[in-house]
């Protein structure tokens, strides 16, 4: 008995061995503490890396491509049997003109990233790292912040400019900030670029280098200039920029562009960049087309100034306009197809109501090589597959048939699927930003698993920025020079003179499909509210569905409205609405006019 008693007491003691407080000394096992991060260059770089990954646009490709369907270039293709509806933002808020103060269209309120930047910049100031390291890291972060403000100002106009990581205890006047003037935001972007220019790293196009910063300035100042020239000042300058400032902004853009452009082409950028011409064989139009296509799928090519790369294993299915099922992501509209000139300078407009051929590519063979580098048509060969995208056939007896997977053999012995294996809702598919050697997954020739880079800034754009700024400043010969440098590389006849319309046309073609320029350009030029025929966005975009007719053994086009409803771009849409929940949070945020 005694032994048992002692054992019992011992047991009780055992229970007490577990020290109480130790049980509560638990911490999460997967976090790194504050003080370490900003004094360790590796960790600080990781913080920066997180922010690079969050930059609007390139972090995933999809927002970029949603620009394409908002403009007059294309509509969104779909997987399976129905055209894809690109979320409600496209359908409800824009196409039907229903965009209202609840927002939803291309919303970007990047203040969480702004805060991360501000916090990093403040923490770097107090860091024990080398001054030079601190400057380099902070400089990049200031560029990330600037590009974030640019993404916001081009949507909403003036927005609160917040340059410190706020604390909840800050005075209400700071917390509940008013919207700055649109001009102040553009000025901030410009001055930030100037301030950090010499601190930035060199040579790495995945990070903001001096040239990346200048490219941002080149683009942003051009936007500011156009808004000053074509827009109207409203809400005391919260939106709109006084027109007398236009030339100063064009000049700033021009100067920034010139600092990037290589010496050989009249700039002061040394020989850091050059237009990509690797695949060009002079005189061979096909090689120009191949070259243009290669420009967008070749990582870190000589033209790239700032780009976002992808690694397939990590990012999974990230592709430019690669496959979704049996088609490409967006299908170019007829108006856009017709906008491409012929290489020899004649008009590129094709009448699709009458056009017919048993070899469709032959209809486009002499077009601007950039067309062949960007767009696929019925009968094209891509990745070893012939693109069959007829939507239906017409039998000898006039019967119209279009059934998935069903073949028809005509009296001429020709066998064809009544509905093509690939989907081309407009009659055209996108080749730009798909990789010719993309992985053939058996289903699609479009390379579902491509890791196509996103060229955020490239030299080609800078030439066109420079040309536009020069043209706006009245220096037409300088503009002609840079437009022609682009056309020369494209493999198309050179112009003898330029005007704004020609500068705009060149931008439309060179920076088309996936580079996310057109919609923003039409807005800053204040062209968007015009009709499609006048170069705006109002009206119907057109399709030219392909079908095979066994009565004359040719492919024909069904030229018609591509969408059931007209697209609407209202005057008010030059600025997107400040969503009502933001105003509810902060009544100091005045709403944009017209909402």
């Amino acid at each position: 008995m005694k032994t048992i008693k002692y054992l019992f007491i011992l047991t009780l003691i055992c229970f007490f061995v577990q020290s109480c407080e130790e049980l509560l000394e638990k911490t999460p096992l997967d976090i790194i503490s504050d003080d370490v991060v900003f004094n360790d260059v590796t960790l600080a770089n990781s913080y920066l890396a997180n922010c690079y990954g969050l930059i609007k646009g390139p972090s995933t490709f999809q927002p970029l491509s949603s620009d394409e369907i908002l403009n007059d270039e294309s509509l969104l293709s779909g997987e399976g049997s129905t055209p894809h509806t690109w979320t409600n933002e496209w359908n409800n808020n824009y196409l039907f003109g229903a965009l209202n103060n609840t927002g939803g269209l291309k919303e970007y309120w990047g203040y969480d990233l702004v805060r991360k930047c501000n916090f990093f910049i403040e923490s770097m100031a107090a860091s024990t790292l080398d001054e030079s390291v601190k400057k380099e890291l902070s400089g990049q972060m200031r560029m990330i912040r600037a590009v974030t403000y640019f993404e916001m100002v081009k949507r909403y106009g003036g927005i609160p400019l917040i340059t410190k990581a706020q604390s909840v205890t800050d005075p209400e006047s700071e917390l509940f900030a008013k919207r700055n003037k649109e001009q102040e935001i553009y000025d901030f972007i410009g001055s930030e670029v100037d301030a950090v220019l010499d601190d930035l790293p060199v040579g790495n196009v995945n990070r903001f280098t001096k040239y990346g910063a200048l490219a941002l300035k080149s683009r942003a100042m051009l936007y500011a200039g156009s808004i000053a020239k074509y827009g109207t000042v409203q809400l005391d300058g919260v939106v709109g920029i006084p027109s007398n400032l236009a030339n100063a902004y064009f000049q700033a853009s021009y100067d920034a562009s010139k600092q990037i452009i290589p010496n050989a082409d009249g700039g002061s950028g040394g020989a850091t960049f050059s237009l990509y011409k690797e695949k060009i064989v002079p005189g061979d139009l096909d090689s120009y087309a191949k070259n243009y296509n290669a420009l967008f799928v070749t990582e870190k090519n000589c033209e790239s100034i700032f780009e976002v790369d992808y690694i397939k294993i990590i990012h999974g299915n990230v592709a430019g306009f690669g496959s979704i099922g049996a088609g490409t992501m967006i299908d170019p509209a007829v108006d856009f197809v017709n906008a491409y000139e012929m290489a020899d300078g004649s008009s590129g407009v094709i009448d699709f109501t009458t056009a017919a051929s048993d070899n469709v590519p032959s209809l486009f063979v002499n077009k601007d090589p950039r067309f062949r580098g960007s767009i696929l048509v019925q009968g094209d060969l891509w990745n070893g597959k012939t693109i069959g995208c007829q939507m239906y056939i017409i039998k000898e007896n006039g019967e119209k048939v279009g059934v998935d997977g069903e073949y028809y053999t005509g009296l001429n012995g020709f066998t064809i699927l009544t509905k093509g294996a690939y989907r081309a809702w407009t009659g055209f598919m996108t080749k730009k930003m798909t990789h010719e050697n993309g992985r053939d997954d058996g289903a699609s020739p479009f390379g579902a698993d491509d890791d196509v880079p996103c060229l955020y800034f490239r030299l080609g754009e800078i030439y066109l920025n420079c040309a536009e700024a020069a043209q706006e400043l009245g220096n037409s010969s300088e503009a002609l020079k840079y437009v022609n440098l682009i056309r020369e590389r494209a493999g198309i006849f050179l112009l003898s003179s330029v005007d704004m319309a020609k500068v705009k046309q060149e931008r439309r073609i060179e920076l088309a499909l996936g580079e996310a320029h057109r919609w923003w350009d039409l807005r800053r030029w204040r062209d968007a509210a015009k009709s499609i025929a006048e170069g705006g966005l109002n009206g119907f975009i057109k399709k030219a569905e392909v079908y095979y007719d066994f009565r004359d053994h040719k492919y024909h086009f069904n030229y018609a409205n591509a969408e059931p409803y007209a697209r609407v771009f209202k005057e008010a849409n030059y600025y997107l609405p400040i969503a009502v929940w933001k105003i509810n949070n902060n009544p100091n945020l005045v709403q944009n006019p017209g909402y």
Partner: protein, 1138 residues
């Protein structure tokens, strides 16, 4: 921080070691105890004993025998004189020899029945007392089953005169006055009084005493007599749990307990647990034998009871108990003859509701309608539609001669595949076995159980399967007079196999259309994504192996010097490692042409590459507890006190590895994948808890009841300063039925009790480590062709984050009338919930830019009632009982951190403001039917599409304008329904028994919730989910349609949430019906079987609801039908007891 981690590494190891040694010591100790016990417990009936005594009373001798053996004596002291003194001497003799010595010559005879020895006066010792004018009364006493009942005391009321029934249950009272009343009494049975009224033969059937009043209910850290319970506690006992064959425990609770809100969202094996909440609150704390853990997969046969603590009675669990507590207690042995139970049932499950998809004819016709409405070229010609209708069995089709000839030639091209039938089968088997044994002696008691369950699913591929092996051994041993120990060990192996694709993928990937052939004779070609997705041979497997191991040791010591004081220590260790293996097989989808026997590639299946992910998780919990218990009765004052210290340590490790690019899909092992692209990762987490709790009960005269509890709880999830919380509760009760004014005036009231309670508790499984800032890996970018990992802040810290506080007020009344023939309970509660975590983002400007830490800012309140009413009676040989319950609860937002809407117009406030509003609301537009003509659209004053109604067509939904601006905008959305959690739940149990037959029924239901009908997309033509009910769409010919016109991707106007789709739902479900038949005992008694019952049982046999097209318990706000259908199960079973 870095430093700290380093410093901790060594102590961690040492601490671990000290724990190990502690366990080792305990184990050794227990082994020793077991050995001791084994020696002292070999008593059996055959044991001879040696006893002697001089001049002692017979009473003392018998007491001595009782204390040394299992024998128990029954006697009526009025009839047998046990105060006679005897001397006796037995050496190595049996009990019979002893009894002969002490009783024979003292005029007492005895009868041994099992271990019961009945003493009665010798009949020869009845000299002629029959002198008075009295008649003899005799008769037979039986129990409710008709078996003779020996040892029943029969007394003439008001005298000491009486007798005891003999082994055959017969009695004779030779001289009973004709006007007297006989009193029959027996332990455990109701005493009966019968007036003689001149009769000479009176047979009596004794009825088991309703034990309800003395029933004991599990409460926090102990038990309480049901009669004296003052918290709102409901309990379900094992017999009510095992009578429904079910693979999981949660689905057994629906309808049985008032205040339990249950929703079962899926019928898939392994995923068919019901979401259980108490009074509609969030997840309740679940405690199994004193340890927080999941109870769902425990074999129901192992469970003794499940109690639900709904009010302040839960407060003793402190910071975790805000949403109530569910206590599961497993079975333990009791002394007595060993009982062996075997149960088996074999069931067939089938789907309660399965959508019927369109056939080929309907498909072709509606596809064309949709294409026409969307302005696209038609897909099918009239002839094709006819042909498809023909193959779909539509006999009304008439072909022209030419068409007939054409059709004969290409017959094989027209098929009608029922994809639901291809993928699902009508029924799937389920089997359950359980073998358990319990029993023991005074010293050692045991309960041992072994169970096996095999549940297949209605997927035709047999791809879903759950197998469960469980065992449990609960042992109690009395070591010495004051020391007892308990050793519980349980284990469960659960194998859950699924096809790689989940049920949503299976539904959504039905190969688009019925005109497509199902898989041809070559199994290498998967036809139909649904078919491939449902078949693990094609798409791969998801396998989960869960090994649940737990053990506990408890030691109970009654302190000998202070009566009523005991101490208890208990150590629990449990680990539930989960091993998951996800094998994705690459596969392609082909279409099959039976004429040419060819396969045509269509597209890639759900995965285009073969890959394998293995994940292993091992959570380990260790809980130690110390109890001090005191119970004492001082006259009319009864006092109970309890103090507990509880210490919890938790740690979990996860490790996972991945490889892809397998050379073959035949080898499902990591080594067979390519090392390029392989990844592995792992994490660890830790948690702990220290709690001190106590309870004090005071009862005066069994009438006035008072209970108060406290808990002092700490969790490392919160900052040091706000880590400890104090949670008190107080409950009071008054048993009116014990008062004389009731006892004397209202004798039919046998139980009447008023209860009130107040308690504080918390919910702390929120925002762990919110008080710490820090950085974790997240995102990043490709820097010079290499991934640069990103680092992101966890967000701002909030040092004062702490648990939610819940204060519950409860008042209730329990009553029982006519000896509990009619009984019931009514509870009403109000709960205030505060400190709900939220961020200030609602009130901070959106330009602030940070994830503010969550703070304890929001509040809400809930109210409701539960009512239970039961009635039981017996009409001749039919015993029956009816027990119904109904509960209502509803929550309202208190303060909600949100924008200030006070300045906005009433519509904006109505639409957005939550503070002060009911929680369960559903917003939408109010419809006014469908537009029937273009003229009607033109005349409609409300602009619905922001485009002057130009996009509207006849057959579109017409909406009423709510805010009066003649435009449909966001502000027209107003409350049109309730949320998806039912506010009212009810249940009805009916059971009856007639001779060997028993029948029970459980009805269960709910109402006051909203459902979007019919869980599909009736406004668009989706080939894979076009169901037959959707065919009632608007066309110019079908203007009286239920659904709007159909389109390829639908028309936006018809997609808004509105009253057009919403159903204010209810359902009533026959959750279970069971018919049992117990074979007459005579048939099998000889082979040692004490009970043999056969039954047939059905689960979910019948559902009545206004939700017609999907199961009323599932909810799909998105309109997708992605659920595994609920199952109804019909099973045959057998229970055998030895």
């Amino acid at each position: 921080m870095k430093k700290k981690l380093k410093r901790n590494q060594f102590p961690d190891f040492v601490r671990g070691l000290s724990k190990v040694t502690c366990i080792m010591k305990l184990t050794l100790f227990l082994i020793l105890l077991n050995v001791c016990v084994a020696f002292s417990s070999t008593y059996s009936q055959q044991t001879k004993f040696t006893l002697s005594g001089d001049n002692v009373s017979i009473r003392d001798v018998l007491a001595n025998v009782e204390s040394k053996s299992e024998f128990r004596f029954f006697f009526n002291s009025a009839l047998v004189d046990l105060d006679q003194r005897v001397s006796y001497r037995i050496e190595e003799g049996t009990i019979l020899e002893l009894l002969d010595q002490i009783l024979q010559k003292n005029g007492i005879q005895y009868e041994v029945k099992d271990r019961t020895i009945i003493l009665s006066p010798k009949s020869s010792d009845e000299p002629g007392i029959a002198a008075q004018q009295q008649s003899s009364v005799s008769g037979k006493v039986t129990d409710s089953s008709g078996s003779p009942l020996p040892g029943v005391t029969v007394v003439i009321k008001g005298t000491t005169q009486g007798t005891i029934t003999d082994p055959q249950g017969n009695y004779t009272l030779p001289n009973a006055p004709g006007n007297a009343t006989l009193q029959f009494s027996f332990v455990g049975m109701k005493t009966q009084e019968i007036a003689i009224s001149g009769k000479t033969a009176i047979d009596v059937m004794m009825v088991d005493e309703t034990v309800g009043i003395e029933e004991v209910v599990a409460v926090g850290y102990g038990t309480q007599k049901k009669a004296n319970l003052i918290g709102s506690v409901v309990e379900v006992k094992s017999d009510k749990l095992v009578n429904i064959p079910s693979a999981n425990v949660t689905s057994l609770l629906a309808g049985k307990l008032p205040g339990i809100v249950s929703r079962q969202l899926s019928g898939e094996p392994g995923a068919d647990a019901a979401n259980i909440s108490i009074r509609g609150f969030g997840n309740a704390l679940t405690i199994v034998d004193g340890v927080e853990r999941n109870y769902n997969q425990i074999d129901p046969n192992e469970i003794e009871s499940i109690s639900v603590l709904k009010d302040a009675s839960a407060a003793i669990y402190g910071a975790r108990a805000g949403n109530g507590v569910i206590l599961v207690t497993t079975k333990r042995g009791s002394s007595g003859k060993p009982v062996i139970n075997f149960s088996f049932n074999n069931g067939w499950q089938s789907s309660t509701r399965m959508p019927r998809y369109v056939n080929s004819g309907e498909f072709a016709e509606s596809y064309n309608d949709a294409l026409r409405n969307s302005g696209s070229p038609l897909q099918f010609t009239d002839y094709q539609i006819k042909a498809y209708k023909y193959v779909s069995g539509d006999k009304s089709v008439t072909f022209t001669d030419a068409e007939r000839a054409q059709f004969e030639g290409e017959k094989a091209n027209y098929v009608n595949t029922d994809w639901v039938d291809v993928v699902f089968r009508p029924a799937a088997p389920m089997q359950q076995y359980n073998l358990s044994s319990s029993g023991g002696s005074e010293k050692i008691k045991y309960f041992i159980s072994l169970g096996y369950l095999d549940q297949n699913s209605v997927l035709r591929s047999g791809g879903d399967r759950l197998r469960k092996y469980s065992c449990r051994s609960n042992i109690d041993a009395q070591i010495t007079k004051n020391l007892s120990i308990g050793l519980d060990v349980s284990g469960r192996l659960e194998l859950l196999d699924y096809p790689q694709c989940d049920i949503g993928q299976i539904w959504n990937n039905f190969m688009s259309d019925p005109p497509t052939n199902a898989v041809g004779p070559n199994p290498n070609f998967a036809s139909g994504m649904g078919q491939g997705a449902a078949d693990p041979d094609i798409c791969g497997t998801r396998k989960t192996k869960t090994t649940d191991l737990s053990g506990s040791i408890s030691i109970n010591y009654s302190v000998p010097f202070i009566k009523g004081l005991s101490a208890k220590a208990r150590l629990d260790y449990l680990t539930v490692p989960v091993f998951q293996k996800n094998f994705f097989k690459a596969y392609d989808i082909y279409s099959y042409n039976p004429v040419t026997d060819t396969y045509t590639y269509r597209f890639a299946g759900a995965s285009s590459t073969t890959s394998l992910t293995q994940t292993w998780t091992q959570p380990v919990t260790m809980v130690s507890k110390l109890f001090l218990n005191y119970e004492h009765v001082f006259g009319k004052h009864s006092v109970k006190a309890l103090v507990v210290g509880e210490f919890t340590d938790f740690n979990s490790n996860t490790f996972s590895a991945y490889r892809t690019d397998f050379y073959t899909t035949a080898i499902e092992q990591l080594f067979a994948g390519s090392s390029t692209g392989q990844t592995c990762t792992g994490t660890e987490s830790a948690d702990g808890r220290i709690s001190y709790a106590g309870r004090f009960n005071y009862e005066y005269s069994n009438k006035y009841l008072l209970e108060t509890t406290f808990r002092y709880d700490a969790s490392p999830r919160f900052a040091r300063d706000v880590r400890w919380g104090f949670f008190p509760s107080v409950m009071a009760g008054w048993r009116l039925s014990e008062e004389n004014f009731i006892k004397n005036n209202l004798q039919f009231v046998n139980n009447l009790k008023l209860r009130v309670s107040y308690g504080q508790a918390g919910v702390d499984n929120i925002a762990s480590y919110n008080y710490m800032t820090g950085y974790q890996y997240s995102g990043g970018f490709v820097d010079n062709s290499e991934l640069q990992l990103g680092l992101t802040s966890k967000g701002l810290a909030n040092l004062s984050t702490t648990w939610e506080k819940h204060i519950t007020y409860n008042a209730g009344i329990d009553f029982g009338l006519l000896n509990d023939m009619l009984y019931g309970a009514f509870d009403v509660f109000y709960k205030e919930r505060s400190g709900i975590l939220t961020t200030r983002s609602g009130s901070l400007p959106s330009t602030f830019g940070a994830n503010l830490p969550s703070e304890n800012l929001n509040s809400a309140n809930y109210r409701g009632f539960e009512f239970q009413l039961g009635y039981r009676d017996k009409i001749r040989e039919i015993e029956y009982s009816i027990d119904g319950n109904i509960a209502w609860n509803r929550g309202k937002y208190g303060h909600v951190e949100e924008s200030d809407f006070s300045g906005s117009d009433q519509y904006t406030r109505l639409r957005y403001q939550n503070s002060g509003q009911w929680i369960s609301r559903y917003f939408g537009l109010e419809d006014a039917g469908l537009f029937q003509s273009q003229a009607e659209i033109d005349a409609w004053p409300v602009i619905q599409d922001n485009n002057n109604n130009t996009t509207l067509r006849p057959g579109d939904v017409k909406y009423l304008d709510f805010d009066g601006d003649n435009k449909i905008t966001d502000l027209d959305y107003h409350v049109i329904g309730k949320g998806d959690i039912p506010e009212i739940t009810y249940g009805l149990n009916i059971s009856g028994k007639w001779k060997e037959f028993d029948l029970s029924m459980l009805w269960q239901g709910a109402t006051n919730y909203s459902v979007i009908e019919p869980g599909m997309r009736p406004y668009q033509f989706t080939p894979s989910t076009m169901s037959a009910v959707q065919l009632d769409y608007w066309t110019p010919e079908n203007t009286d349609a239920r659904y709007p016109r159909i389109g390829i991707s639908g028309f936006n106007n018809n997609k808004y949430s509105s009253t057009f789709w919403l159903i204010d739902a209810y359902y009533v479900r026959l959750k279970n019906i069971q018919l049992g038949y117990s074979l007459p005992k005579l048939l099998y008694k000889r082979i040692g079987v004490s009970e043999l019952r056969l039954y047939v049982s059905a689960v979910n046999l019948l559902t009545i609801s206004n939700v017609k097209h999907s199961d009323p318990e599932v909810q799909s706000w998105t309109g997708d039908y992605i659920f595994f259908p609920q199952q109804k199960t019909i099973s045959l079973g057998i229970n055998i007891s030895f």
